[in-house]
């Protein structure tokens, strides 16, 4: 039986993976992957609620915007990662301590 909770459960697992990636991995690009996971989990929720709760398709539009924002974020984040690598010769997150004070 496919109902709302199966989708929500899937998105939770995805979200959890994203959080774990964000918290545990030390590579900046890997952390960006985690962010993508988190965003997609949110997107699944939007679509699922549209399907099961109300059908006015605003959730779809939100998901589209999420994709847009994710694309922008990925572009800028990766640019920063590459730049950081050019300067520091590494993309280890613990090396990004210049602003730590």
């Amino acid at each position: 039986m496919i109902n709302l909770y199966s989708y929500l459960g899937l998105s939770f697992v995805m979200f959890l993976s994203g959080i774990i990636v964000l918290v545990a991995r030390k590579n900046i690009i890997a952390m960006l992957l985690g962010i993508e996971l988190v965003l997609n989990a949110a997107g699944i929720n939007f679509i699922a609620y549209t399907r099961f709760s109300n059908a006015n398709l605003d959730g779809h539009i939100f998901t589209l915007f999420i994709i847009v924002v994710a694309a922008a974020e990925a572009a800028v984040g990766l640019a920063i990662a590459i730049r950081f690598f050019q300067i520091k010769e590494t993309i280890h997150i613990d090396d990004a301590v210049t602003l730590q004070g």
């Binding site: 959080i19 964000l22 918290v23 545990a24 030390k26 997150i93 613990d94 990004a96 301590v97 602003l99 730590q100 004070g101």
Partner: protein, 721 residues
């Protein structure tokens, strides 16, 4: 005609804004800064010309003035009757003065673009020029002594920075400090005078002072046993003595030639020294009320004669001009003293024009004489000579000015100086106490003619004495910004501009209704007229004619009775004849000495070696100030104060309190150790350290730790709901 603030304020504000803007942009955009300076001063010249046109060419009568004020501060609520109004006061005299200052300053600005062009601080010079001019214009427009004093000090600062413009040279730095400190002596007296007047009258406005004088408010009051009016007048006059370089504070002006030549032109002609005489003219009723006239005339006469004698033996072309300035200023002050009010003012104007021209011409000469050995410009006259053919245009300009300053008829100097001398002669015929004044005045006229022509002959005539220098001197390449100012100033050294009688009928209205415009339009402030006086508010408000609206027709006798007038005319005719004879005699002597070589100046110098040494040392004024005043008195005072400080204050006051302190100290130590150190200080430290440990853990800078914290907070939040 209405005068709003918009037509008056730009005169002073334009150069001031130029100064403010240029102070910021001058390093990067030197040429733009120079252009801003020149155009702003020209703009204020246009505004001044408009006011001059209205005032002098016949819209108003002689007594008319515009007076616009706003209250600057008012502490009368405290029970003290002090209220200071700031404002503009324009009458015929200030209108003329404004035109002269802006006009001469414009021409000096233009000349400076030529003269200073290769200087490494080209732009900065214009910054100072703008501020200097705006300060002078502010002074001329001021309606009270306090704002006069403010602008007065501003000018003191500008002269300081301009005289020390070449601060790499040690002499320039010393000269600038000397100028600043010497004028400061006068300024202290001036401030003292302002305070006295303020405490008695409750206002420092010119008009209020005139009113108080006419109401005899100063009568009967004394300060330290002296009449108050005399003390006030003497103090204010000391300001003039300092600023206008009168005896005994004349020592700074000769050293002022350390500055660049255009700045000398500005200081000697339009701004600095003119301010002192202008102040005395404004305060003329006070000087009269204080019975200062005899003293003033003596100081002026001594200055005029003494400076002229020193100028006789100077070899530096600028030094001759500097001493001639002191001498001419002596004439002006003498003119105030003998009651020649408008002649004195006229001499101020004519002198400004021809002295500016002389300095600019001297600048041209110096600029063209470049010594290739020392890489400097030559100012020494013994190395010049025969420059007439090399610099024909400069020669003509300088010749006209020399004729003017020597008092040759048909030139401006004759018109004004002759009147001062005529009045001095009249006073001498009336009171025997004025005889020395007249004698010194005429003597100075003779010397003036002599040393000025000596300068001309040494510079432009004869054979070149330094052949190499002469050959190197490049021919005049008539650049416009060098020669147009000279040309204009030269034109205005002609006498006709200043007296309607010589040129015939120069300006329609002046010729028909007013015989000589200077004499009819510039009149002594008649204090009686100020009794029922009102002033306009600065913002808005219509300017009504304030005192007498009727046209003043030229009064042949100048308000004197028939018999007095006869004497005055007689004295004037006599004075004119004398001064012409004396001037020509002086020129003739110079001709004999330096062209014909019939008289050998060297022999005369040797014959009067004592005198000439005194002249070389400028009558030992500098020595006196340095050796006696500074070393003997001021340094001793200094040592005495140091002894007072170390021997008395340190020993008894400070050491005595030490005993008390030591007891206090014991208690304080105990208190400190227990309470402050161990509880407050260490306690604070410990608590800070505690927080530090916590906060350092939290503020790890690790973004992943932050994520964990965020998650924990979110979880807690969700549990809470």
């Amino acid at each position: 005609m209405e005068y709003s603030i918009c037509t008056i304020a730009p005169i002073v504000l334009l150069p001031f804004f130029a100064f403010v803007i240029n102070a910021f942009i001058v390093k990067r955009f030197t040429n733009i800064a120079v252009a801003i300076s020149c155009f702003s001063i020209f703009g204020s010249f246009l505004f001044a010309a408009r006011i001059f046109n209205d005032f002098v060419f016949g819209v108003y009568s002689a007594g008319f003035h515009v007076h616009k004020v706003f209250t600057w501060f008012d502490i009368s609520a405290t029970g003290l009757p002090f209220k200071v109004d700031m404002g503009f006061y324009i009458d015929n005299m200030s209108a003329t003065m404004l035109l002269m200052v802006t006009g001469v300053a414009t021409l000096i600005h233009v000349f400076s673009t030529f003269y200073m062009h290769d200087d490494k601080r080209y732009g900065r010079f214009f910054v100072y020029l703008s501020l200097f001019t705006s300060a002078m214009l502010g002074l001329v427009l001021s309606d009270n002594l306090l704002s006069v004093f403010i602008f007065w000090e501003l000018m003191g600062f500008c002269s300081y920075s301009l005289i020390g413009f070449y601060y790499e040279k040690e002499g320039a730095g010393d000269a600038s400090i000397k100028a600043f400190m010497t004028t400061r002596v006068g300024d202290v007296f001036f401030l003292f005078g302002i305070v006295i007047l303020w405490s008695v009258i409750g206002s420092v406005s010119f008009v209020e002072i005139y009113k108080a004088i006419s109401a005899m408010k100063l009568q009967g009051l004394t300060v330290l046993g002296f009449p108050l009016a005399t003390v006030a007048a003497a103090s204010v006059f000391m300001g003039t003595v300092g600023k206008s370089a009168q005896v005994p504070l004349q020592v700074w002006l000769p050293d002022a030639m350390w500055g660049p030549t255009p700045c000398s032109a500005l200081i000697h002609a339009a701004t600095m020294v003119a301010a002192g005489v202008y102040l005395s003219l404004r305060m003329y009723p006070l000087m009269e009320a204080g019975h200062m006239m005899t003293v003033i005339s003596y100081i002026g006469a001594i200055t005029a004669f003494g400076a002229a004698t020193i100028a006789l033996i100077q070899t530096d072309i600028k030094a001759v001009l500097a001493f001639s300035t002191i001498s001419q200023l002596g004439y002006m002050v003498m003119g105030i003293g003998v009651g020649a009010y408008n002649a004195s003012f006229m001499h101020l104007i004519t002198h400004a024009v021809f002295k500016a021209c002389l300095f600019l011409a001297a600048g041209s000469v110096i600029h063209s004489l470049h010594d290739h050995h020392t890489h400097s410009h030559v100012q020494e006259m013994p190395r010049m000579g025969g420059l007439r053919k090399k610099l024909p245009f400069t020669f003509i300009a300088m010749m006209c000015c020399t004729l003017a300053i020597a008092g040759i008829p048909f030139f401006s100097g004759f018109v004004s100086k002759d009147r001062i001398l005529g009045d001095a002669l009249y006073m001498a015929m009336k009171h025997s106490s004025y005889i020395p004044v007249a004698v010194l005045g005429f003597g100075a006229a003779l010397l003036t003619a002599f040393y000025m022509f000596r300068m001309m002959f040494l510079t432009f005539f004869g054979e070149p004495r330094d052949k190499e220098l002469h050959d190197h001197c490049h021919h005049e390449h008539l650049s416009w910004n060098q020669n147009i100012p000279l040309l204009i100033l030269t034109v205005f050294t002609l006498g006709g501009w200043y007296c309607g009688s010589i040129m015939g009928q120069p300006f329609g209205k002046i010729a028909t209704e007013r015989y000589e415009w200077f004499q009819t339009l510039i009149e002594k402030p008649d204090v009686a007229k100020f009794k029922d006086y009102y002033k306009d508010n600065l913002i808005g408000g219509k300017t009504r004619p304030s005192i007498s609206t009727e046209k003043s027709v030229y009064d042949e006798n100048g308000g004197l009775s028939e018999e007095q007038a006869h004497h005055v005319h007689h004295a004037h005719h006599l004075g004119a004849i004398f001064s012409v004879i004396i001037a020509f005699f002086g020129v003739f002597l110079a001709f004999l000495a330096y062209i014909r070589k019939a008289i050998d100046p060297g022999k005369i110098v040797n014959a009067f070696s004592g005198w000439s040494r005194a002249l070389q040392n400028k009558y030992y004024f500098d020595h006196f100030y340095k050796k006696i005043l500074i070393h003997k008195i001021l340094l001793r005072l200094n040592n005495f104060l140091a002894w007072l400080d170390l021997g008395i204050y340190d020993r008894y006051v400070i050491d005595g309190t030490e005993k008390v302190n030591s007891y206090m100290f014991q208690f304080a130590k105990w208190f400190d150790n227990l309470w402050i150190d161990s509880i407050l200080v260490d306690g604070t430290g410990a608590s800070v350290r505690l927080f530090n440990v916590v906060l350092r853990t939290v503020q790890s800078g690790s973004i992943q730790f932050y994520f964990i914290v965020i998650l924990a907070v979110l979880t807690g939040y969700i549990i809470a709901i």
